[in-house]
Each structure stands twice: as structure tokens, then as C-alpha cells.
Amino acid sequence: MNAILAIARRELDSYFTSPLGWIALCGFVFITGFFFTFFLLQFNQYAVSAAFDPYGSEALDINEALLPMLFGNWAVVLMLMCPAVSMRIFSDDVRQKSFELLLSSPVGSGAIVMGKFLGAMGFLAVTFASTLYQPAVLYWLGAPDPGVLSGSYLSMMLYAACCIAIGMLASAFTQSQIISFMVSFATILVLYLLPWVVEGASSEWVSALGQLGMGAHIEEMAKGLVHTEDLVYFATFIGACLFATQQRVESFRWR
């Protein structure tokens, strides 16, 4: 357990001692901040025109008109950011030969994978925490539903965890960070779009395929409805990727 935490801590620190980590962090905060400002102004415009609508259309709800727009964009930004965060996790370690330190230490491959995963998640937690000024501003201006807000954050965290887990798996297969990035980005993109791709398919089997994608499990949670089946989906997905990564790391001893 101590070893897992030590590895996680080192991994987390490594993001803040390399330009990559800072660029990812600042990039995410900047882009989401840009969207936040943009949608907030747009929402304001619609809200004002709705208020003066003589035919009395319903007042715009911040929870329905603003938040889904915001977090929908997060998913796209994370699609790029997570592969960038995860691409070096194994690729760089193996290429720089520093991985030998982990291999020659009394730490199992499961602990190595877990430690690195937690480290990357810690980095994402810091990144997400840097965006908390956005809900603060919303509370200041209006009354967003805490359930919707926390559900949205939770869904994005779980979605990002899936992306990181995919990225780690890709990273364990190549010493090239670029290849690792491309493969994980492509995989995440396909999985994310899957529900829309199979939408309206005549065969039940094909539409069931949509459930494999992450998009299908984010929607409800982002409305503040946390279903057990969605949690099970995320846990299974992340667990499967981490298990595959662990198997791959174990095989390093036999290559």
C-alpha cells in the first residue's frame, strides 16, 4: 500500500515538474474558462430576450440550458487532454529505462499500475479543482441545482478515469508517446461517439452496442441522476483496462 502511494505521489509530482503537466492543466482551465464565459454570455442574451418575449415563453433554466452545454464541451476537451496526460505513463518510463527501478523493487505489477493510475487521477482532480470558480460564479449569479452540478462533475471524473485507463493501456504497449496518444485518442473518440453512431439502428444488437460507449452513461448522471448501472459500467470499464495493463506490465518480465 505504501508503495502504491509512493508511486502515485511520484507520478503526480512528475506532472508538475514537466512542461507537459502545466500545459495540460493550463490548457484545460483556459479552454473550459473560455467556453464558460461564452455560454454564460449567450445564456444571458437568451434569458433577457426570453424575459421580454410578449408571448411569455418559459424562463430559461440554468440547469437545463447552461450546464449541459458546458459539460458537453468538457467531454471533448478531455478527449484530447487525457491521452496527453496518460501517453507518457509507461512509454516514457520504459524508454528512459527508469522502469527498471520499479521492476527491481518489491512491488507487484498490479501495484505499479494502480499507483500510476491514482497519480494520473490525482492530477485530473487538481485540474478539475482549478475549475471550481465556475460553479462559484453560477451560485453568485443564480441558483444552480447542486445535484446537477455534482452529478456533472462526477460524470466527467468517471469519464476521464476511463480515458486515462485506456491511455495507460495504450502507453504500456509502446515506447512512443505519439503512438500512445494517437491510439488512445482514436479509441476514446470511437467509444464516445458509439451511442450516436448506432442510434436508430434497426437491430437490437447493434443498438445495444451503444451501451459500450461512455456517452450513454454520462447523460443521466449529468442530470444529477446517479444510476447503479452507470456506476457498474464505469467500474467495469476502468477495471478491465487496468487489468489488461497489469497483464501487459507483468509480461515485461518475459519479453
Binding site: S98, L101, L102, S104, S105, P106, W254
Partner: protein
């Protein structure tokens, strides 16, 4: 302390080592000698549990490397050929991290001790990437030492260093080897083996070709090689008659090799002067046996002593 039995490791069709067996006693310092690609690193990596063996056994401190890898790794400090460093970490942090994952009690204090031990105190707050190669090698050593292991496995600890750095590391190794610690180090610098090791295991093309005590090799150090202008049969007899000479081998062009059990250079010289002595040199027994045992594979090890 270390027992290796019929260890074999294949990478697909390629056999890196085959049937390697040797043992190392507690507190012994053993040199692993062999040309590049002979299987030194493969053997060492198996001993440290970094890779598995196709067949055979390796035990460290009574624990099987494959069955109880954690027990073995707790007792072994390993410095790979390329030190496993995280370049963007500070020396102190890095060594403490190594201590933490290797299960050293009180990692910070253990790290401070290891840093002190390898003489890194003055750079302990610096980023590893900014250090010279010699210092980086020391950081690698500190990492191997941090959990105070019974066994040190060092893969070419002096490769790529300049002569001054190499000497420093060698002195450090002598210091570390003093006491109960068992050390295995690989190198292709023969002088290093003689300076540091008690015993040598020579490995070539994946097989152990010889194990010998340095002291035994040194005992045969009185052999000399000489070249004369006018070789004749009487010279052979005269050299043979010198006390302590046990054999004389004539070669082409007036070259002779004299095998002796004591210092005979003065007498041999006085006998050879009459035949026109051109040169007389002691034969380095370790180098000779090494070259003989690893003949026909890889470049001349004497060439490899030059800093690359």
C-alpha cells in the same frame, strides 16, 4: 548467498544464456567478465527479478527469484547498465522514492544515509538531469543502496565514465564491498576486476567458461614474454635451467613465453642478453586467460578500455 543453477533464458529463437551455474558466498565480491552480448546483463536481470528465466533456478539468500521475487528484491540492490533515474526529480526526492518502494524503514533517513555514503551530499538538492554522468552513476548507486541490501548487483558501474570518475567509483565500490555485503559486478575492464574482486566468473556466448580466484590468477603472474634477435636451441635450455621456470614455449620470430612460479625476470634477462634481447614483458595472466576463453567473439577487450 547467491546460487545459480543451470539458468537459461531465451528470447524467441535467440538464446541469451544457457545453463549458467555459479555460486557466490556471503561477503564475496565477484566480477562478471565477458564481451558485449555474452549474457552478463541477462543473468544479472534475472538475479534481480527484472526478467524471468526460461529454465533453471536462481536463489538469493535462500529465496527463489521466480517464486519469491519480493523477498529477493528486498535483499538485492540493483544498478542496471543505464541508471534507472527520473531525470526531473531532485536527487534527495528520487532516492527517498526508491527507499519507499523498496520498503526501507524511514525512507528519508535511509535516503540521507545512502546519499552520504556515495558522496552526493553537495548535490542532494539538485535536479538529476543537471548532473554530470559520474554523479548520475552515483545517484544510481544510492538508489541500489537505499534499503541497505545484503547483495549488490552492479551492471557495468563504470562504463562511460572518464578515468578520474572511474577511479572514484572503483574506490566507492571497494568501500561498499568491505564488510558483509555480497557484490556482483559486471565489467569488461579487466583492471577493475583485479582491483575490486576476489573472484571472477567469465561468461562467453551465454555460457560460463571459467570461474577462478583472482589470487590464483595472480600467483601465475610471474610468466614473462620475451623477444630475442638470434633465437637458438641453447637459449631454450638456458632459460629452462633458471630456478623457478617451469616451462618455455618458443614461438615464431624469436618470441618466447616463459612460465614461472616466482619472479624470474632478472635471471631470464641475463640469459637472453647473449641472444640479443629485444623486449621482455610480464604476461598478464587475467587478460590472457580472458582472451583465450572468449576468443573469436566481439572486439578485443583491450580496445574497449578506451573511453568511448
Amino acid at each position: 548467498m547467491i546460487e545459480v543453477e543451470a539458468l537459461t533464458r531465451r528470447y524467441g529463437d535467440f538464446t541469451a544464456i544457457e545453463g549458467v551455474s555459479f555460486s557466490v558466498g556471503k561477503g564475496e565480491v565477484v566480477g562478471f567478465l565477458g564481451p558485449n552480448g555474452a549474457g552478463k546483463s541477462t543473468t544479472m536481470r534475472i538475479l534481480c527479478g527484472c526478467i524471468g528465466a526460461t529454465s533453471g533456478h536462481a536463489r538469493v539468500g535462500g529465496f527463489d527469484v521466480l517464486q519469491r521475487p519480493h523477498e529477493v528484491k528486498r535483499r538485492v540492490g540493483y544498478l542496471p547498465e543505464v541508471p534507472p533515474l527520473y531525470g526531473n526529480m531532485v536527487v534527495e526526492e528520487y532516492v527517498a522514492f526508491a527507499g519507499r518502494i523498496k520498503g526501507a524503514g524511514k525512507p528519508r533517513e535511509a535516503a540521507a544515509r545512502a546519499i552520504e555514503r556515495v558522496g552526493l551530499s553537495e548535490v542532494r538538492g539538485r535536479v538529476i538531469d543537471h548532473l554530470s554522468k559520474g554523479f548520475r552513476q552515483r545517484v544510481g548507486l544510492a538508489q541500489a543502496l537505499v534499503h541497505d541490501p545484503d547483495v549488490l548487483v552492479l551492471d557495468e558501474p563504470t562504463s562511460g565514465l572518464d578515468p578520474a570518475q572511474r577511479r572514484e567509483i572503483r574506490e566507492l565500490l571497494l568501500d561498499l564491498a568491505a564488510g558483509e555485503r555480497t557484490v556482483i559486478l559486471s565489467t569488461h575492464v579487466l583492471a577493475e576486476v583485479e582491483a575490486v574482486c576476489e573472484r571472477v566468473v567469465i561468461i562467453n556466448q551465454g555460457k560460463v567458461v571459467s570461474t577462478a580466484r583472482i589470487a590464483d590468477l595472480a600467483a601465475r603472474r610471474h610468466n614473462v614474454r620475451l623477444r630475442v634477435q638470434h633465437p637458438d636451441d641453447t637459449l631454450l635450455q638456458r632459460l629452462g635451467a633458471v630456478e623457478g621456470v617451469v616451462g618455455v614455449k618458443p614461438f615464431d620470430e624469436g618470441l618466447f613465453e616463459v612460465e614461472a612460479v616466482r619472479e624470474v625476470r632478472a635471471e631470464v634477462a641475463s640469459q637472453a642478453v647473449a641472444s640479443g634481447l629485444l623486449e621482455l614483458s610480464p604476461l598478464d595472466s587475467l587478460e590472457d586467460s580472458y582472451l583465450e576463453l572468449t576468443r573469436g567473439s566481439g572486439p578485443d577487450p583491450r580496445m574497449m578500455e578506451l573511453p568511448s
